[in-house]
């Protein structure tokens, strides 16, 4: 305790501890305890794994769970593939004023509510929407085409909504790569492909990891996009949680679902960090 007083230390520690304890740690423990309750009568409960058993024995639940995870991974990969060339362009080719303008243009859509963005895709993709009209006008379709309420629509929405969270970390890491390192790669006989593979991508790895983690998390936990663009039968896991809590009022099963989602996301984040030998502090902080 080199600087400040002991009193100052406790004054600064208190809000942090209150926040983390009351809003993060204890609620999650409580949620776990609720998920272990089995209702045996009116206001009578027993501790058991019944809710988890229900989850694992009902194919619809498992299927939705796996489907949500796979779709989220897919959304993350697609977002990365689309965002990487764009970030490289902003960080290394456009640069200067143009680079800054393009970067801000990337940011602006995401200061707008996700609801508005999703609403935009709805107007574009639905049966009476713009794309459908365009296809008919171009003679590629002879009747209105419904493009909403399928997995492709969900994917378009997820990728769109996540784009910023991939572009920002990528641009930041790519900007920190000194031009002379790229030039050295060429000077020693490298071509575009080998420089990309051996120099640029390894350098951007921290940005790729942190971007991917955030995008994956946002997709996995997304409720709005799958519900609006995927329709009632979109089978997204967050919808199941919502239904158990708000519609069926079965908090015990809902809490178990919530916990499964938490475990899945933690596992994948942990795995990604292990795979690339990075820590959460480096990636997020």
């Amino acid at each position: 305790m080199q600087s400040g007083t002991r009193l100052g230390f406790y004054l600064l520690l208190t809000p942090l501890v209150l926040w983390l304890a009351l809003l993060i740690v204890i609620p999650h423990i409580d949620m776990f305890l609720v998920s272990l309750r089995e209702r045996v009568g009116v206001r009578q409960y027993e501790t058991s794994f019944a809710n988890y058993l229900t989850f694992f024995t009902e194919p619809l639940y498992i299927w939705t769970f796996v489907r949500t995870a796979v779709m989220s991974v897919l959304a993350t990969i697609i977002t990365l593939l689309i965002a990487f060339p764009v970030s490289l362009y902003i960080a290394k080719i456009a640069r200067g004023r143009l680079g800054q303008v393009l970067f801000v243009l990337c940011l602006i859509p995401f200061y707008v509510s996700e609801l508005v963005r999703t609403f935009g895709w709805m107007i574009l993709l639905r049966e009476t929407g713009l794309v459908s009209n365009l296809l008919q006008w171009a003679g590629l379709a002879d009747q209105p085409v419904e493009m909403l309420y399928n997995d492709a629509a969900i994917m378009i929405g997820l990728v769109y909504t996540s784009m910023l969270f991939m572009v920002v970390p990528l641009v930041t890491t790519l900007e920190s790569l000194d031009d002379s390192v790229i030039e050295a790669g060429y000077d020693l006989g490298g071509n575009g492909f080998s420089v990309l593979r051996e120099i640029i991508i390894p350098h951007a790895a921290p940005g790729i990891v942190s971007g991917s983690i955030v995008v994956f998390m946002l997709s996995l936990g997304n409720y709005l996009t799958p519900t609006i663009l995927g329709g009632k039968d979109s089978l997204w896991f967050t919808e199941m949680i919502y239904n158990q809590f708000i519609v069926r009022f079965n908090w015990e099963l809902g809490a178990a679902f919530g916990f499964m989602l938490l475990i899945l996301s933690s596992l994948i984040v942990w795995g990604m960090l292990k795979l690339t030998r990075q820590s959460l502090e480096e990636t997020m902080g």
Partner: protein
């Protein structure tokens, strides 16, 4: 790859086209939302029925504009109220955390730092239900013990504020910490050397230095709260913030009224975001 490396012309053209298409993709949904706010029709879709301001200023059925639609105006007010409180609370706690992590070494610091980052990797909906479950446990407990019914712990604005704060505080902490790390401690020592007390030194030297980051964090927190959906959805009571109110309407079927609200939202948040960027550029 970079401008000093010569590239074939064809490759440059393909790359440029790709970038143009990307920005088209970014702009498309927002443009469509904005344009159809002026469609003189009951539906935000083709055919185009002509230009109208009615979805903003109309005051008679069936075209009641945003500015005469009471529930929407009230929802905007609710959102602004929640966002303001979440913003202030997050910046206050974020600043405190930044000082704690930057200035003190103590046992468990690493653990607390990781815990502090966790809200970023917990799905918003899970944050929402865990707080919902816990607050209801507390409320039920209070009823069982003291027969007190604490309405504030039931779904409603307090829980919405707490739920949003629980992860926005992390972002505020990171933004403010980043700036505090760049602070040259010798400036504070110079102030002490010139006769300031420790607290005065922080107030007159360090806080002004942190101000751009604190304002930035406030704006970001405000916007994140304003547009938050997942966590809010699980904790909302009878007073719906704007995103929830719009979601309910969207489910019932959309009218260009929603486009008009969206357009105003876009203008508002872009203005706020742009002025923040300009403000930080000037610094």
């Amino acid at each position: 790859m970079i401008p000093t490396i010569p590239q074939p012309r064809a490759l440059r053209i393909v790359y440029g086209t790709y970038i143009a298409l990307f920005f088209l993709y970014l702009a498309l949904p927002l443009t469509v939302v904005a344009v159809f706010a002026f469609n003189d029709s009951q539906f935000p879709s083709l055919p185009w029925e002509g230009f109208t301001w009615n979805w903003f200023f109309g005051d008679s059925r069936p075209m009641i504009g945003v500015f005469h639609e009471r529930p929407i105006i009230r929802a905007v007010g609710t959102s602004a109220f929640v966002a303001g409180i979440v913003g202030l609370l997050s910046v206050a706690v974020g600043t405190s955390n930044a000082f704690l992590f930057n200035r003190y070494n103590f046992r468990g610091k690493g653990l607390l730092y990781v815990l502090m980052l966790l809200p970023l990797v917990i799905p918003g909906i899970v944050l929402g239900i865990s707080i919902l479950v816990f607050s209801s446990t507390v409320a039920n407990g209070m009823w069982d013990i003291a027969k007190m019914d604490i309405q504030a712990l039931r779904p409603g604005l307090l829980l919405v504020i707490l739920g949003q704060f629980s992860f926005i505080a992390t972002i505020a902490t990171l933004v403010i910490s980043a700036r505090l790390q760049k602070f040259d401690r010798s400036l504070e020592e110079a102030a002490l050397n010139l006769g300031a007390s420790r607290l005065t030194a922080v107030r007159t030297i360090t806080i002004p230095f942190l101000m751009p980051a604190m304002i930035g964090a406030l704006v970001v927190a405000f916007l994140m709260s304003f547009e938050n959906f997942n966590t809010t959805l699980m904790l909302v009571g009878s007073d719906a913030p704007l995103t929830i109110a719009m979601f309910d309407r969207l489910k019932e079927g959309s009218t260009p009224l929603l486009n008009a609200v969206s357009l105003l939202l876009m203008l508002g948040s872009s203005l706020l975001a742009l002025s923040l960027i300009l403000f930080q550029r000037r610094k």
